[in-house]
């Protein structure tokens, strides 16, 4: 999902940077509040953030002969919301821009918006909708993670369609469809596998540390107990 350095026109680089900076500042502010209120959230932040580091470094083959990586943002979006998730993603994406030449400093804003803000935001919305329904926790985590992953790639396609340094096709709509074919369609199997793996990880978090989840009001006690008795 990285837009490579030099492939986004300068004005669009600035637009995405301007959008992402206030989100990051708000994320840092939220992060400070959450950690000050309860130090025991730090390990949970470590696990959810650790999966963003881990999964976004794994480039998996797609059935279409290309390769791409999961984003791993689902768990963090559910536990801490999109703003804090954007801060963790910014760190990962900065690492990749500086040391791996995956994405660049000018396109970092755009990449933070797609992977760190809009993807987790879509996931978080799904979580908020499903939280108070009878849908099981595993199913919720699966859907949040898979759709957060996919929507990140849809946003990347949209960003390239809008502001690629040379337009790929005559108009934005057909470029969008072209990039969706490259980024989003190929991402579907990866999103599914990521969703299942993170649902399993969350099962273990519930098994080991149910109290932190109820204290942060991530899921109701009733739902967590249901998940525990199921396991």
């Amino acid at each position: 999902m990285h837009i490579m350095e030099g492939y986004l026109s300068p004005q669009w680089c600035i637009v995405w940077w301007v959008i992402c900076i206030p989100c990051l500042l708000f994320g840092i502010y939220r992060l400070k509040n959450v950690l000050n209120a309860d130090r025991e959230t730090l390990p949970l932040l470590g696990v959810t953030g650790g999966f963003i580091f881990l999964l976004s470094s794994l480039k998996l083959p797609t059935p279409f002969g290309s390769s791409s990586h999961p984003t791993g943002t689902g768990l963090s979006a559910v536990c801490f919301g999109p703003w804090i998730t954007s801060v963790v993603c910014a760190i990962v994406l900065l690492f990749q821009a500086l040391f791996l030449a995956h994405g660049g400093l000018s396109t970092l804003g755009a990449n933070i918006v797609s992977m760190g803000i809009i993807g987790p935001f879509v996931g978080y919305t799904i979580y908020r909708v499903l939280r108070d329904t009878p849908v099981s926790i595993s199913m919720t985590i699966f859907l949040v993670t898979a759709i957060a992953d996919l929507s990140t790639y849809v946003v990347t396609s949209f960003q390239l369609a809008l502001g690629a340094v040379h337009p790929a096709t005559g108009n934005v709509g057909s470029s969008f469809i072209l990039f969706l074919g490259i980024f989003a369609v190929t991402q579907i199997p990866i999103a599914i596998i990521e969703g299942i793996v993170l649902a399993l990880v969350f099962k273990y978090i519930i098994a080991l540390k149910p109290d932190i989840l109820t204290r942060l009001k991530i899921f109701s006690e009733q739902k967590i107990n249901a998940a525990r008795s199921d396991a």
Partner: protein, 101 residues
């Protein structure tokens, strides 16, 4: 009853196995499938349709590029290791906490 308990584990393993089989199938039907990254596929599409070579598209901000695929994979492994270390550390911490009470 025991199957019920490990339902999610079994589902995960089956999905990963299916994913691997799809990969083996894709790589066997065509020898010139290179599994290039989608980032670079999009980049070459942009340069191809606009008639500019990828070399002509200059970075806006100068960038360090890993000199070889080996160096790049080291740095990717480092990134994964950082994530894995933190995850393992926290799970160990939680298991320890659980045992104490």
């Amino acid at each position: 009853m025991r199957m019920q308990k490990y339902r999610l584990e079994i589902l995960t393993m089956v999905t990963i196995a299916a994913f691997c089989m799809v990969f083996l199938y894709t790589s066997s039907i065509s020898r010139d499938t290179v599994f290039a990254g989608t980032d670079s596929i999009a980049a070459s599409k942009i340069s191809e349709s606009s008639g500019t070579s990828t070399k002509e598209i200059q970075p806006l901000i100068p960038q360090w590029v890993p000199p070889s695929g080996e160096i790049e994979s080291t740095l990717f492994a480092l990134q994964a290791a950082i994530g894995g270390m933190v995850i393992g550390g926290v799970f160990g911490y939680w298991i320890g906490q659980k045992k104490k009470v």
